[in-house]
């Protein structure tokens, strides 16, 4: 009996600490959202979190962007790049993962070790040569350098995730399909793909998020505002910072986070699953 009260008190204290800490952690994000609805000139003078007067003026002004190109274009570009990357990763990382997890061939262990090593490789060793190659192909200021590598399963992280998952599936299904005359590709499409769905959804989620935030490569390859993505558009605001542009910048910042929020909240359990099965990087 005494033990139970003790446990209840300890749970109460934990709940309290977790909530206080959590509120503290989320304060900056809440502040950002609130600030985006304040009138531009009161953002820093008004210390209250809740705006005195809600206004959408920041959103209207921010959406127009700076200069001739507006955020509509930036969002469209970001969605194109993310969409193509997602499709490429789902198809080609899972094909590769299927080969590593299920097929037998000479040199499999060697190639698997190589693949795992590329997982740890700092991207910088390939950055400059890739730039030189893509430049000689005339791909600078197009989406190609951002998207084409994904069609060659260069995101080893997702191969690893999918290999781990496919290995955990029962083999009996493949074997019975083999007896029924299914080829390797048939097994992949009809049996492995559907069963891998949870891991594929995790792949979709993280490919989208990481491509959406892949500022480094976008900065490297996109030069003209008409090709800019959402993060590049936000950077424009930073460069031309004056008091008056804070409001629109915060509004567009909030908007840029909306797709991540929507994905996260609609597919939460796949996030947790993905993180725990691979031990996730950042």
């Amino acid at each position: 009996m005494k033990n139970r009260t003790a446990r209840r008190i300890s749970a109460g204290i934990s709940n309290f600490i977790i909530i206080v800490l959590g509120v503290g952690m989320l304060y900056p994000v809440v502040w950002l959202i609130m600030a985006s609805f304040k009138e531009s000139n009161t953002i820093f003078s008004d210390p209250a979190l809740i705006p005195k007067a809600f206004t959408l003026q920041n959103y209207a002004r921010g959406w127009k962007g700076i200069g001739i190109v507006g955020f509509g274009v930036f969002f469209k570009n970001s969605f194109i790049i993310c969409g193509l990357s997602v499709i490429a990763n789902v198809i080609f990382c899972s094909l590769t993962a299927y080969a590593f997890a299920r097929l037998r061939f000479v040199g499999k262990h060697f190639w698997f070790a190589v693949m795992m090593m590329t997982l740890m490789l700092p991207t910088h060793v390939t950055t400059i040569p890739r730039y030189v190659i893509f430049r000689s192909l005339g791909w600078i200021d197009t989406f190609l350098p951002l998207v084409v590598p994904k069609f060659f399963a260069t995101d080893a992280f997702f191969i690893f995730l999918l290999v781990q998952f496919i290995r955990s599936l029962p083999k009996e299904l493949d074997e019975s399909a083999l007896i029924d005359g299914c080829g390797k590709f048939g097994i992949y499409i009809r049996i492995v793909m559907p069963l891998t769905m949870p891991a594929l959804i995790t792949t979709v989620l993280f490919t989208f998020l990481w491509t959406w935030d892949d500022f480094f490569n976008q900065l490297l390859y996109l030069n003209s505002p008409a090709k800019y993505t959402v993060p590049m558009g936000l950077r424009l605001f930073v460069d031309s910072s004056g008091m008056s542009s804070w409001g629109p910048m915060f509004a567009m910042s909030v908007l840029s986070l909306v797709p991540c929020f929507v994905l996260f909240f609609s597919l939460q359990k796949y996030f947790v699953q993905g993180i725990t099965t691979t031990g996730m990087k950042g």
Binding site: L26, F44, V125, F152, T154, I159, C260, K281
Partner: protein, 308 residues
């Protein structure tokens, strides 16, 4: 018969390799060849407009030694120092926080899924330009934090972002803030530890602290180790946050000049692509050495269970 079997084995291999072909092409064309090419470039002077010029070890010489004719690149050494400081302060702090919060949550609390979500939000958003921009405003001289400190506590705080003493710590804070992934992993790991271990040891009179060092840490050690290595590798490559918070220049006084930011400025700002390639290889070697070291140390510290 024998020949038939061999033919079948060859066909079987070929059809398997068909599945691997996209990845193999990618590996050779987009990873291995670029790696070798950048190794070659690291021994040259190269500005992309003219063909590379062989200069031997000079790029490396300038980085670490230098002489009168080719003075040492102090900015490089500084960026190396800044990055090491960032990695070795932010990664351990992040993991300690993640473990502490995971242990708080490792009880029969009803709201765990909600908490997990709450604490993952910074990780979800933290890599974005939007949050970096926000950080810049939070810690500016006339920013949000200082408005609170002045108003509520009547203090006279410094301008965090533009003060070389503090600028790096705002970035460390931003990194530690995103402890969501290791926390979720630790929480999953904690749930795997059998309750009996704790019960048995408390019968033996072990206190909470003793239990933490005797049971919790050893049981989690493989997970902690894996997270340490992966977080370290990605921390060495941090770019976006330093770029945005410092306005692309690594300032003030190079105090936030991360390694990858300096590499970017050298390669694409000053068009010294040979030098930038050499920097990339130095980074590769640093990461390889640290990873190897971590594996070696882990051999004696990490316990992988009783090996059933």
């Amino acid at each position: 018969m024998n020949k038939k079997a061999r033919n079948r084995a060859i066909r079987d291999n070929l059809s398997s390799y068909a599945f691997l072909t996209p990845w193999l092409l990618g590996f050779f064309l987009l990873t291995l060849y670029p790696m070798l090419y950048s190794l070659y470039l690291s021994f040259t002077q190269f500005n992309i407009l003219q063909p590379p010029q062989w200069i031997g070890l000079r790029n490396y010489f300038v980085m670490f030694i230098g002489n009168n004719q080719f003075p040492r690149d102090e900015r490089f050494l500084n960026s190396l120092f800044v990055t090491f400081k960032f990695v070795f302060v932010s990664v351990p702090l992040k993991l300690v926080f993640a473990l502490a919060v995971a242990m708080l949550m490792n009880q029969k609390l009803k709201l765990i899924p909600f908490y997990r979500t709450l604490y993952y939000i910074p990780t979800l958003l933290g890599g974005s330009v939007a949050i970096a921009v926000l950080w810049r405003r939070l810690f500016a001289g006339d920013g949000v934090l200082n408005a609170i400190l002045r108003g509520a506590f009547n203090l006279n705080p410094p301008a965090w972002i533009s003060n070389p003493k503090y600028a790096l710590y705002t970035l460390i804070l931003l990194s530690v803030w995103q402890f969501g992934s290791p926390m979720i992993i630790f929480l999953a790991g904690l749930k795997q530890i059998p309750r009996e271990y704790y019960e048995a040891s408390s019968v033996d009179g072990a206190g909470k602290v003793r239990q933490f060092f005797a049971i919790t840490l050893p049981s989690l050690s493989p997970i902690i180790f894996f997270n340490l290595v992966m977080q370290m590798i990605s921390a060495f490559q941090s770019f976006t946050q330093a770029y945005i918070v410092s306005g692309g220049q690594g300032g003030p006084l190079d105090s936030t000049m991360f390694y990858s930011l300096y590499l970017y400025l050298k390669g694409f700002g000053f068009s010294e692509m040979g030098y930038a390639s050499a920097m990339a290889w130095v980074l590769l070697i640093i990461i390889a050495v640290l990873t190897a070291l971590a594996f070696k140390v882990s051999g004696s510290l990490v316990s992988y269970g009783s090996g059933e």
